[in-house]
Structure formats: structure tokens, C-alpha cells
């Protein structure tokens, strides 16, 4: 077991208190100990909403490089624990230089979008194979083909973003046709707050994926805030958002579809809040996190290495390849494209 694959502890029950007890993490709820987990089993802690973490536990996590991140109860990323800066300063210098160089920025932005388009196309193609064409599916597929043809000719990052945007709106126009359960409808992507269950589910899964990508980038010593496709903005993990583009459809959307279509997630797992926001309930979050963690442990054949790798390692592998490209050890960056 590599350290990248250590388990993440997800705390989403409200009012839980986490503290350090020797070399273990003690989970308490109203004075009752729910569990004791030796720290060496954990790679990170993700806390949703009202979760207290003792200062000594935080110190220890910072010291040992355990990823601690905070989310709102609904799964929006709020912040994370930053220990001493580690990693290779020369690598980060190379990363900044690549951003200052328009041609390498354009190149990387193009590769992330290429992977996103190809992986989204896979999701659409599979739907067509399984249950035939619909108007929206054909339009989305045609849109992806067109965007993929035009991508190599894009001269600026803005053009790349434009192609991505067009394909994404066609994709989400067709996404409703991928839902088999009549229980949910999907009329386009919305967030902050999500207005329907499918958007709530997608937003939550994307938030989980983003932490995976952030942790992977930090693990190889890259600066997760310095991105190429996504513009720099204070507090925004632009490079993590770049990297997640490779996994959004292939990992995130397919998981959401599986959960809905297998009726593992139903309308009872959602709550409507005043103002029309729809959020996963505590029970719903648990269902999704368990499925997400199980998916991390499944293996796939890596298209580059032709070896079986756990899905949870894919962001780490891609982060490593990206670091090698930025250092100049690899002439090309090979984004992850599924099968």
C-alpha cells in the first residue's frame, strides 16, 4: 500500500469531535467514543459542516502531512490545513515559468480540455450504445467531435475555453437522457446552491474529486493554485481544477449516474432548504462517500503503462506525469483518457 492510497476519514455527522489520543484519532459524539483509528491508517481527514478538531490533533496532522480539509455541510470546499511548505522549489519554479510562457500554457490547457472532451464523449457513446440515440445525445456527440477537431487549431487559451464551454453545454443538455430512473429530472447544470437533486449530487462528487486532485498535486510538490486552463484567482486551486477536468465525466459523472440508475440514491437522500437549494442529507452524503471510496479501490488498466492501477491512484499518476513534463523530463504531457 502506497501512502497515496491511505484511507480518508470522512466526518459528516454534525457535532462530532475529533481528538488525538496517543497515536490514534478518537472520534467522539456527545461524550461517546464512536471509534478509535490509528493514525498510520489515514492519509487524510475530510470534515463536513459542524465538526470540531482538537488543536493537538491538527498539530499532529500538520506534522505528519495528513491532509485535513473542511467542507460546508453540503460539500462545498472551504479550506484545508497547510503544514510546512514541502516539495521541490525548483519544480514550482518550472511550473511558474510554464505559466509565463504562452505556448506551454496553451499546450497544457489544450491537453486538459482534450481529455475532458474525450472522456465526456465516452460517457455519451456508452449511453448511445446501451439505449439508442436521442436528439440531445447526437447533438452532444457531434458537438464533441467538432470541438475535438478544432482544438488543435486554437491559438489562445480563451479559444480553448470557448470550445470547452460549448461542448460542456451540449453535454449537459444531453445529461438528462442518461438518467434511467424516472425519479429525477435534469434541466441543466446549476450550483451555489444546486437547485435539484442531480445537481446537488454532481456538485458533491466534484468537491470530493477536487480534494483528491489537490492532494495529488501537493504530493508531488506542485502548487495546486497555479493552473493553466483555469485563470488564477486568490484562494482558487486552479491546477486542481485543471486536473479534475480529466476525471469529471469518466469518474464523477459515471459515479453519479450509477448511483441514480441503480437507485442507490433516491429522493429520500435529499433535503430542500429554504430558498430552493437542494442538498444531500446526512444519510445521502454517507451513501455517496461510501460509493466514492469503493470506486477509488477498484482498478483499471492505465492507458499509458498498460498496468492495473487503483482508480484512487490516477490523480497521483497524472500529477507525477505533469511534474515530469514541467521539469522537461517528458516531451509531452499525456492526460488520462479512459476506455
Amino acid at each position: 500500500m502506497t501512502s497515496e492510497l491511505l484511507n480518508t476519514l470522512y466526518i459528516q455527522t454534525q457535532g462530532v469531535y475529533l481528538r488525538l489520543e496517543g497515536d490514534t484519532l478518537r472520534i467522539q459524539h456527545e461524550e461517546v467514543t464512536l471509534r478509535n483509528v490509528p493514525l498510520h491508517h489515514l492519509g487524510g481527514v475530510a470534515a463536513f459542516g459542524n465538526v470540531l478538531i482538537s488543536p493537538f490533533l491538527l498539530h499532529r496532522c500538520a506534522e505528519e502531512g495528513l491532509e485535513v480539509s473542511w467542507f460546508t455541510e453540503s460539500g462545498r470546499f472551504q479550506g484545508r490545513l497547510a503544514g510546512p511548505v514541502s516539495g521541490n522549489v525548483l519544480l514550482r519554479r518550472a511550473q511558474h515559468r510554464a505559466l509565463d510562457n504562452p505556448s506551454s500554457t496553451l499546450y497544457l490547457a489544450g491537453r486538459f480540455v482534450e481529455a475532458k472532451l474525450k472522456n465526456s464523449r465516452l460517457v455519451l457513446q456508452r449511453a448511445v450504445r446501451e439505449r439508442g440515440e436521442t436528439e440531445a445525445l447526437s447533438a452532444a456527440l457531434a458537438g464533441h467531435e467538432a470541438a475535438l477537431r478544432m482544438l488543435p487549431q486554437a491559438r489562445t487559451v480563451d479559444e480553448v475555453r470557448g470550445l470547452e464551454g460549448q461542448a460542456a453545454s451540449a453535454y449537459f443538455a444531453a445529461f438528462g437522457d442518461l438518467l434511467l430512473s424516472g425519479e429525477f429530472r435534469f434541466d441543466g447544470r446549476n450550483k451555489r446552491p444546486p437547485r435539484d437533486p442531480v445537481n446537488a449530487l454532481l456538485g458533491f462528487i466534484y468537491a470530493l474529486l477536487t480534494t483528491q486532485c489537490t492532494a495529488a498535486l501537493e504530493g508531488v510538490g506542485l502548487d495546486p493554485q497555479v493552473g493553466f486552463l483555469h485563470a488564477l484567482r486568490p484562494g482558487r486551486n486552479a491546477l486542481a481544477l485543471d486536473l479534475i477536468e480529466e476525471f469529471r465525466a469518466w469518474w464523477g459523472d459515471r459515479l453519479a449516474l450509477a448511483l441514480i440508475n441503480r437507485k442507490q440514491v433516491t429522493s429520500k437522500h435529499f433535503e430542500e432548504r429554504p430558498g430552493g437549494a437542494v442538498l444531500l442529507s446526512e444519510e445521502g452524503r454517507k451513501e455517496v462517500i461510501v460509493a466514492f471510496q469503493k470506486r477509488r479501490q477498484e482498478t483499471v488498466q492505465h492507458p499509458l503503462f498498460k498496468e492495473q492501477v487503483p482508480i484512487g491512484l490516477l490523480p497521483h499518476i497524472q500529477a507525477r506525469l505533469l511534474a515530469r513534463y514541467l521539469r522537461g523530463d517528458l516531451p509531452e504531457y499525456p492526460p488520462f483518457i479512459g476506455k
Binding site: 500500500m1 502506497t2 501512502s3 484511507n7 480518508t8 476519514l9 470522512y10 466526518i11 459528516q12 455527522t13 462530532v16 489520543e21 496517543g22 497515536d23 490514534t24 472520534i27 464512536l34 471509534r35 478509535n36 483509528v37 490509528p38 498510520h40 491508517h41 489515514l42 452524503r285 454517507k286 462517500i289 461510501v290 466514492f292 471510496q293 469503493k294
Partner: protein, 99 residues
């Protein structure tokens, strides 16, 4: 890094007050590496280095002429080596941990 499932069992002579303190200290070390499955039995999933570390710490605590410590390695993992009956509070820390 490869990890091993090991079983740690002990008898600590608790006639004296010192013995009771030793018993508590042994349990404390074990807790840091694994989980209690019976009164004086712990199961730990550890790397070789962690196993050496735990063993060294335990040896510092026990009195060799009064106490006994046994560490069994479950070759091939606990799933292969273990049959349990009755109460079982073991938790696999590699399963999704969602509270």
C-alpha cells in the same frame, strides 16, 4: 509498502500495583498500532517498520520474568487466517471510513 496483519496477545502479571500500570501501558502501545478485539488481544495492520517499532516499545514495558508477550503474523492476511465466532468488533480501517 506491504502491510502485515499481526495478532498481539499478552499476559501481564498484575498482582502488584506496578503490574497494573504495566498492563495499562502495554494496552496503550497496542492501541496506537491496531485495535482491541478481546481483552488482551489486539489485531494490527502494520508495515514491517511499524511492527518493529511496536515490538520495541512493548519490550520496553514488559517484565520478561513476570509477563508474556506473543506476536503472531497472519500470513496472507486475516481474511485467510481467521475464523471468528460470537462477538466481533473488528473494523477494517481500509474500508470506507464515513462517520
Amino acid at each position: 509498502m506491504e502491510r502485515l496483519d499481526v495478532l498481539v496477545t499478552y499476559d501481564v502479571n498484575t498482582i502488584s500495583e506496578e503490574g497494573k500500570a504495566r498492563l495499562a501501558r502495554v494496552a496503550k502501545v497496542c492501541k496506537n498500532y491496531g485495535q482491541r478485539v478481546q481483552m488482551s488481544v489486539f489485531e494490527c495492520r502494520v508495515t514491517r517498520a511499524q511492527l518493529e517499532e511496536m515490538e520495541a516499545k512493548l519490550l520496553k514495558v514488559i517484565e520478561p520474568d513476570k509477563d508474556s508477550l506473543r506476536i503472531y503474523t497472519l500470513v496472507g492476511g486475516r481474511d485467510k487466517c481467521l475464523r471468528t465466532h460470537g462477538q466481533d468488533r473488528y473494523q477494517d480501517f481500509d474500508d470506507p471510513l464515513v462517520i
